[in-house]
């Protein structure tokens, strides 16, 4: 690092060093964005453009990748296609130009829906349980509090594959294999530790005096919790919920080992999108792009709370 010439001077760094720092950071940011931009560009390429050498930066945009990720197609003879009526919609049109017809929706759609249901279901549960526990740990004297909190955190440190072995056996016994409910429960248990730790931090910051004042006014403890603490903790709860959503949305190890079809989410499915004659890169890129867009939106929304989220509330800024 250029520590010597750009080091910290008193409070305000000089304009020169500031500009130099800005230049380096922007350079890094641009380089780091190239892979992501490349995937988005690839999703709008035709299959031929996607695998051309040298890689094409300028190309004729095509929605074929998006069509291919959402539909299945079947190859037909030219004569058969001519007997059909006019193409139905854009995707049919693209398919027919390649001597194919759209046969129906692809498996990506149910996988995506599974992702949504499992992510939202586990988030709601984890945040609800987490809020209650966090309030309990924040406000009451609980015996072995530190040990319990460490226990809760430690469950998240377990390697997922190691957990997956007994979960696989347990779910097989109780009939939760490859079910959405099973995945929701599993993700809830992983997320609840994060939720407790994060929310405890947020609730610790709400002055106890608010509740005490409410209780002097005749509220019970529970009413004070619902009517005073919860509204104050809204931001924290929202931030925690987004973190839980992102985790459940991104999770792969459990999903690939414990689901095979019925409850499979998008992450294990995207890598196995295969077209005729090898990987259909524009379709993979399209599936990836659609999958990543919500994360980008959430990251921008969360940017002020990211630090807390990634350190389990240990670092608050």
């Amino acid at each position: 690092m250029s520590a010597s010439n750009a080091a910290h001077s008193v409070v305000e760094p000089s304009t020169g060093s500031r500009r130099f720092a800005g230049l380096l950071v922007i350079l890094y940011a641009i380089i780091t964005m190239v892979p992501l931009i490349w995937i988005v560009l690839t999703s709008f390429k035709s299959p031929d453009d996607a695998i051309s050498y040298p890689p094409k930066v300028l190309f004729k945009p095509s929605l074929e990748g998006y069509c291919n990720v959402f539909t299945t197609r079947s190859r037909q003879t030219q004569e058969f296609i001519q007997t059909l009526g006019p193409p139905q919609g854009l995707c049919d049109n693209i398919a027919r130009s390649r001597n194919m017809v759209v046969a129906g929706p692809s498996n990506y759609v149910p996988r995506f829906i599974n992702s949504l249901i499992i992510a939202f279901g586990s988030t709601v549960l984890a945040v609800a349980l987490g809020t209650l526990s966090a309030y309990g740990f924040s406000r009451f004297r609980v015996p072995l509090k530190d040990d319990l909190l460490f226990f809760i955190l430690s469950t998240r440190m377990m390697p997922p594959i190691a957990v997956a072995i007994p979960i696989y056996l347990m779910y097989r016994t109780v009939g939760l294999s490859d079910t959405r409910l099973g995945m929701i429960l599993l993700y809830t248990s992983v997320n609840v530790s994060l939720a407790v730790w994060l929310l405890k931090g947020f609730i610790d910051e709400i002055p106890r005096e608010y509740e005490e004042a409410a209780m002097i006014d005749g509220y019970t403890r529970f009413q004070a919790f619902v009517k005073v603490v919860l509204p104050q903790a809204t931001t924290g709860i929202a931030a925690t919920a987004i973190f839980c959503l992102i985790f459940a949305w991104n999770e792969y190890a459990f999903a690939v080992l414990l689901t095979s079809g019925n409850a499979q989410t998008a992450p294990p499915f995207i890598p196995i999108i295969i077209g005729e004659g090898g990987q259909d890169w524009p379709a993979v890129a399209a599936g990836t792009t659609i999958f990543l867009v919500p994360i980008v939106v959430f990251t921008v929304l969360l940017r002020k709370h990211l630090l807390r989220g990634i350190t389990f509330g240990a670092v608050r800024k």
Binding site: G22, L129, I152, P159, V163, L185, N250
Partner: protein, 319 residues
């Protein structure tokens, strides 16, 4: 929930003049409420984390195979543990894991701290650029691994093209994912790309926690910038750097998804990190007892590492 709230409401109204009693009764109901609030979480974790863990410990002493549930189960004692700890393949996997952990944590710490140091200069627009830099770490490691396989394609991939462009080597003369010497670095590059922002964010918090008056005092004492960096900036940011190293070390020790999609442990077993070995043993060869023992060994290692680091962290903090 309902009877609890009404009962304490009644107590409140019935004996408003004797605060000692109120406190005692309310204290009791607080305790009940505390358990009511905390128990569901504990029960869930016991059911979905601790019960399976205990089961794993049991299985690790047996010859159970998940693909033959009806075969008789034999008690083997510590046989699996002995065979794992003396298995050269396991030690090879541990070496691959160590290589991966050490290099990723090193690169991410150096780059992440450097970036944080630069961002801390508060140039114009640093907020926006920081958010952009943070993006990769929020993405799904599996999806990231998958799209990097596209960037690493020998003929058509962007990564190979860029390397070829700058070095003059042929774009298809090397395979990042298919080459025995290159593939361990291929996974390090992707991990560093993804997780450098994580270290950067924590280091940035560390740098921002250093109060300005310390620098002002140093300036009064005419300490050089170099001296200020080594005597103030680095030591004061160290607990935060340690925190980042701890989190990254543990996470990368159990790394599975990204590596599974990039190389699947190959070519051969050159990128077979511990989690991939475990997955192959548990879900491909179905050696459930054996893999349970290995899983327990990994647990113990992770918790051991975590504990050592947490202690080191507290020592640095209390200094």
């Amino acid at each position: 929930m309902n009877d609890l709230s009404t009962s304490s409401q009644i107590t409140y109204r019935a004996v408003p003049i004797r605060p000692g009693v109120i406190r005692r009764i309310r204290g009791l109901s607080d305790q009940a409420l505390a358990w009511l609030f905390i128990t569901p979480t504990i029960v869930l974790l016991l059911a979905i984390n601790i019960f399976p863990l205990v089961w794993t410990i049991y299985l690790s002493f047996t010859n159970y195979r998940a693909n033959r549930p009806n075969a008789p189960t034999l008690w083997l004692g510590t046989d699996w543990y002995q065979s794992i700890l003396t298995d050269p393949d396991i030690w090879a996997a541990m070496q691959v894991t160590a290589h991966f952990v050490v290099w990723t944590v090193l690169i991410e710490t150096v780059l992440g701290f450097g970036l944080a140091f630069l961002i801390d200069k508060k140039f114009r627009g640093h907020g926006l650029w920081t958010t952009i830099i943070l993006l990769p770490m929020m993405l799904s490691p599996a999806v990231v691994g998958n799209f990097w396989t596209f960037l690493y394609q020998p003929q058509i991939g962007l990564f190979n093209y860029v390397v070829a462009f700058f070095t003059g080597r042929g774009a298809s003369s090397f395979q990042m994912l298919g080459d025995v010497t290159l593939s361990p670095w291929a996974i390090v590059i992707v991990d560093a790309w993804m997780w450098t922002p994580y270290v950067m964010l924590i280091c940035l918090a560390g740098l921002r926690s250093i109060p300005d008056y310390i620098y002002e005092a140093a300036e009064v004492d005419r300490a050089s910038n170099w001296r200020q960096f080594w005597s103030i900036t680095l030591p004061m940011a160290l607990p935060f750097i340690m925190l980042a190293v701890l989190f990254r070390g543990i996470e990368n020790f159990k790394m599975f998804d990204m590596v599974n999609l990039l190389t699947g442990g190959g070519p051969g077993s050159t990128t077979e990190v511990a989690s991939i070995t475990l997955k192959r043993a548990a879900f491909e060869s179905w050696r459930t007892g054996y893999s349970s023992a290995f899983a327990i060994i990994l647990f113990v290692t992770v918790f051991g590492l975590a504990n050592i680091y947490v202690k080191a962290l507290n020592r640095v903090k209390s200094r």
